[in-house]
């Protein structure tokens, strides 16, 4: 009897392709994505992009920059990417700050004049440490901390010869007779500076036991009370928008099944008008969801909603239309509600994980970050981040607006084409 029940259930599962996909394909897809993002292949290990401004231009500072470049975990950029094949001039402190603001990189290092000289002198005892300025986007805490640590490391590795010379000099002062036994007992740590340097205006005070005095300045997000709220409002918002949009579009399948669609199309309503009506409804619905999400962020998490209303409206509308069109497309390629449920779950969860709805894309390997750009999530989140995090003007949203609206047009065109099967038999 039990075997008969198992057999019946197996037959049911075998014929329910949606359930099969959800049961076996979705876990594999997620496992693969998370494995790619968080570990596994060496070539996909995330690297931190850092802009370096060498104001010193000394031999030692260049050597230091070279040392940074040799760090496997960093992608060092001295100048912006070529524009139309034209090589761009090197970053200045100002242009690097602009680049951080527009999200080109999470952190920049500025090596001021005399950096090389101080590093070469290596005279921490006299509190004459080389200093470096760190311009950071506070949304990427990991990048700033990592760079701050690596600067200390590279200070040693890139100037090992100089260190050696200076070390010998110090050693000579401490152990004049050069006796090896005494030398072994020497704790060189006392050569490091014991008192601090002036604190940065915006960042934390440099630590006293560091070779390089690093002054960090938050150029993005310095006034934000809760830096990741806007990110999660956008990320989670888009994720659920996609689900609700595909669900709303699924009504199309219900109406086709019940014959209501046929009746509607026998009236003065054409298929294009019908689909546009569905698109309009889903868009308004999605926009209302976003408004609610951000209002909640404002009320509970002190998200600065009202000051960013124009940017939110632009991004919210574009995101809502794109998401609604995407839902319509999903529904139009499916034959049944069960198919839609399976496909939408698979596609939306994959899109959301790759596109940054579940965790920030800047924490992903670069290849995954680029892959994420094929998703609505990534463009929407980037746009909302520009508005709420970087305080960029609405005019800076042009790329996101173009991509989202363009995607909406393509999705709708596909949905309309697929809907022809309901139009005529």
């Amino acid at each position: 009897m039990i075997a008969a029940i198992v057999r019946t259930s197996l037959i049911g599962l075998r014929r329910d392709r949606g359930a099969l996909v959800l049961s076996f394909v979705l876990p594999l897809a997620f496992f693969t994505i998370f494995a790619l993002v968080f570990g596994g292949r060496r070539d996909l290990t995330p690297k931190v992009k850092v802009l370096v401004v060498d104001e010193d231009q000394s031999r030692v500072s260049r050597q230091f920059v070279q040392g940074l470049k040799q760090e496997g975990s960093l992608v060092v950029k001295m100048r912006p990417d070529p524009v139309n094949g034209q090589e761009q001039s090197e970053y200045t402190a100002r242009s690097a700050e602009r680049a951080i603001r527009d999200g080109s990189a999470p952190v920049a290092v500025v090596l001021p004049g005399a950096f090389g000289e101080k590093l070469a002198r290596f005279d921490p005892k006299n509190d004459d440490r080389p200093d470096a300025r760190l311009l950071e986007d506070s949304s990427d805490v990991v990048a700033s901390l990592m760079i701050a640590g690596l600067l200390q490391k590279v200070a040693i590795t890139s100037t090992i010869n100089l260190m050696s010379e200076r070390g010998s000099a110090c050693f000579g002062r401490v152990v004049p007779d050069g006796q090896s036994k005494q030398a072994e007992r020497i704790n060189v740590s006392h050569m490091l500076p014991q008192d601090g340097v002036a604190e940065s205006a915006a960042g934390p005070a440099p630590k006293k036991d560091e070779i390089i005095a690093v002054a960090a300045t938050k150029v993005v997000g310095d006034k934000k009370s809760n830096p990741m709220i806007s990110f999660y409002a956008a990320g989670i918002g888009v994720l659920f928008l996609l689900f609700t949009a595909s669900g709303a579009a699924g009504v199309l399948l219900d109406e086709a099944d019940s014959g209501t669609l046929d009746r509607v199309l026998s009236s003065h309503v054409t298929m294009t008008k019908f689909m546009l009506g569905k698109l309009a409804f889903s868009s308004v619905f999605a926009f209302a969801q976003l408004v609610l999400m951000f209002l909640w962020g404002w009320a509970v998490f002190r998200l600065d909603f009202w000051a960013h209303l124009p940017g939110f409206t632009v991004m919210g509308l574009c995101t809502a239309v794109a998401v609604a069109a995407f839902g319509l497309m999903l529904a139009s390629v499916c034959r049944t509600r069960a198919q839609l449920a399976a496909l939408s779950t698979l596609v939306i969860l994959v899109m959301s994980s790759v596109g940054g709805s579940m965790f920030p894309r800047f924490l992903m390997p670069e290849s995954m970050q680029k892959l994420g750009l094929v998703t609505i999530n990534a463009w929407a989140i980037d746009g909302f981040t520009k508005v709420f995090w970087r305080d960029e003007p609405t005019s800076h949203l042009v790329p996101q607006v173009l991509v989202l609206v363009g995607a909406a047009i393509v999705f709708f065109a596909i949905a309309r084409r697929m809907a022809r099967r309901w139009e005529f038999a």
Partner: protein, 326 residues
Amino acid sequence: MVQQLQPESCASVPASVTHNSFPPLRIEGLVKHFGAARAVDGITLELCDGECLGLLGPNGAGKTTLIRSIVGRVIADAGTVTVFGAPADSKEARSALGWIPQELALYPKLSGRENLQAFGRYNGLKGAALERAVERCLAWTNLGDRSEELTENLSGGMKRRLNMGAGLIHQPKVVLMDEPTVGIDPQSRIHIFEMIAKLRDEGMSIIYTTHYMEEAERLCDRIAIVDHGKIIAQGSHPQLVNAAFGSRSEVLARFAGINGRVLTWVKERGGGMVDGVAQFQVDGPNEIVNLFEASARSGLQMVDVSLRKPNLESVFLQLTGRELRD
């Protein structure tokens, strides 16, 4: 045996009766394939003004495909459909046509009133005209006191009536009813018959598809019998019966035990078996006696004999050799 009876043409009806001198609906040489299957096979048909034309045929005969071709939900492979002379896909034709599909094509989460309003708007009604149309339909369907209830909570018969109301919300001149009484109880069916009678009184032109011969006999002025995508006969009920049977009547006979000998005997005398009952055609009552005696001579025991006038079921059986319900 397939027999084509030619109906009286609408053209012969006085011009004052017809609308713009064109018949309400004219179908010429309509063909529709679904893969290799020929669902509609060259149907030519004309609906006269104020007429109720029944399409009678078994399931799968092509009735619904024909109706869907008229309302543009199926694109015919060949042939034309005109509504008062206008192509069926024109705006004028769509306004003139009302379609009551076999399915309950309603929004379950909307109330009856909201459903009527929605379909009214889809058909171009608005404002006071829309509200008047909704009230008229609620009165016609006798759903006025349930108009605010969600459609999903209405009974099967009420949903059927609402389904009809939604098809007539825009006051079409021609109504296509596709088996509107499917799956409802007898009482609701009578209710729907009364609604259709009201439409007929108003002079509306109706095409009514059914596989119930009683409905066709009761409601329709003229009946077209459809089988395998073709109209195999059309005319009024008496015309069809007369053409198929002339003055003959049918004898129904039951035998004590049905076996091969009974079947052979029935077949030899030109009869047929339907649901275990032997059916014969006779010219007069005296032939019953002959049948009775012949069965006795053959050693068969006839236990029940009755005489009846042929009906549409008989006509269909006569024309196709199959039962209407097959």
